[in-house]
């Protein structure tokens, strides 16, 4: 675990800041709740995931899995409770923490008007990576090398999903978050995505997978957390 120099993190928001590196071994939610008035999205959830884990967040639709994923991704602020990344709280970190998070949601986070290559190039630059060394391998892994310059709008659901997966993993994040990644995929594609997930976990990433599909999760995840509505 790396200690993080506070001043450098604050500098990262400034005009000339360089994103410092940060790493952590585990992610822990402690009594996390998120309410909208009297409607409850998540109530007092405590989970922990470590490197190498493939944690399944299982539960029916509307049980707050997406909110939990949002909380883990620092996009949603919990009403109460704390989120710890290694020894740090989310609010202390900011950009260096986001550098270590990869999110693939049901919505694919792709610009359909742009080509596969343009999408990957844009995001690799936004992550401060060199597109020359990251884009081609990613296209290769997605199996889209020959359609790299076609617009995403013309892709099938499976092709988009593969591209979205590679886009989310471009920057080799430590914490990988998946929200219902199997929706609309055929068996072959499900197999490919599952294999990729296992490899990520084996390579030392913390993988959190939210799904309502128990059959798919079975045999894939190494630990399970059940979220009830």
């Amino acid at each position: 675990m790396l200690t993080v120099d506070r001043e450098r993190i604050e500098g990262a928001e400034g005009p000339m800041g360089v994103t410092p590196s940060l790493d952590f071994d585990s992610v822990r939610l402690v009594e996390v709740s998120r309410h909208f008035g009297r409607r409850r999205a998540v109530s007092r959830v405590s989970i922990e995931a470590r490197r190498g884990d493939l944690l399944g967040l299982l539960g029916p639709n509307g049980a707050g899995k997406s909110t939990l994923i949002g909380v883990l991704a620092t996009l949603v602020q919990p009403t109460s409770g704390e989120v710890r990344y290694g020894g740090h709280f989310a609010r202390e970190l900011g950009p260096p923490l986001r550098r270590q998070i990869g999110l693939l949601a049901h919505e694919l986070h792709l610009y359909t008007e742009l080509s596969a290559r343009q999408n990957l190039t844009f995001f690799s630059k936004m992550y401060g990576l060199d597109p020359r060394s990251t884009v081609e391998p990613a296209l290769e892994r997605a199996g889209l090398a020959d359609r790299a310059d076609d617009d995403v709008a013309g892709f099938s659901r499976g092709m988009r999903q593969r591209l979205a997966l590679e886009r989310a993993l471009l920057h080799t994040p430590r914490l990988v978050l998946f929200d219902e990644p199997f929706t609309g995929l055929d068996d072959n594609a499900v197999g490919l995505v599952s294999a990729r997930l296992r490899r990520l976990a084996a390579d030392g990433a913390i993988v959190v997978l939210a799904t309502h599909d128990l059959d798919l999760a079975e045999g894939l995840v190494t630990r399970v957390a059940v979220v009830q509505s």
Partner: protein
């Protein structure tokens, strides 16, 4: 706050009840005579209105940056009171205008500004009501920007149309007519106290609602 509330309420009520007596005892202004007496409540309304807008803006910023729900409650109360005191100012101003200038609405600078500012805070309440889950944050943005834009609206409308008595009138009052000045101060203090009591009551309503929400959540958590 709770301990202070009862004396605050009594003081407000006494000052409010006594205000007409104070106003009645002032001299008549030489050109506008009786209708000038609207001025005491009119001016006081604007002071309370400005306070309400300030409270809404600052409380919104506190809510946004500290995520403190108390800031949110204070901001709603401020926005509602800005609408209320704005309405006081608009109606008394319009009545005064009818007498002094012969028309109900003259596109006078201050009145126009107040009308625009009313729009902002009605917008604030609309976002809260129809913004969906998490609308408090959107409303907080509206509160900060609404409070920040008010001086700009003031300045721009001022340059656009000015037939309203200049603020120097208020300053001169102190020298030329100390009793008028005193009555004005008295009414302003009364209105600010009224604002403080209404704010307390409105915030109380909002915290009761929060408590109710908490109870609902607690009930759901039971096995």
């Amino acid at each position: 706050m709770r301990k202070l509330f009862a004396p605050l309420l009594v003081l407000t009520a006494v000052m409010f009840a006594y205000a007409p007596v104070v106003i009645a005892n002032t001299r008549y202004e030489s050109t506008m005579f009786l209708v000038q007496k609207i001025f005491y409540f009119h001016f006081a309304s604007w002071m309370a209105w400005a306070a309400a807008i300030g409270v809404c803006g600052i409380a919104s910023a506190v809510y946004l940056f500290r995520a403190d729900p108390r800031g949110d409650r204070l901001a709603v109360a401020g926005a509602e009171l800005a609408i209320l005191f704005g309405a006081f100012g608009l109606v008394t101003g319009s009545l005064w205008g009818r007498k002094a200038w012969g028309v109900w609405w003259q596109w006078d600078a201050r009145l126009t500004m107040a009308l625009m500012a009313e729009l902002i805070f009605v917008g604030y309440l609309l976002v809260r009501k129809y913004g969906g889950p998490g609308a408090e944050k959107l409303a907080a943005g509206m509160g900060i920007f609404g409070a920040a834009t008010t001086p700009f609206i003031y300045k721009s409308v001022d340059w656009w149309r000015t037939i309203h008595p200049q603020t120097s009138v208020v300053r001169n009052l102190g020298e030329t007519a100390p009793d008028m000045y005193g009555a004005m101060l008295f009414c302003t203090v009364a209105f600010l106290l009224l604002f403080a009591s209404l704010l307390t009551v409105r915030v109380h309503l909002e915290s009761r609602r929060a408590e109710l929400d908490r109870l609902y959540l607690a009930l759901e958590d039971q096995p």
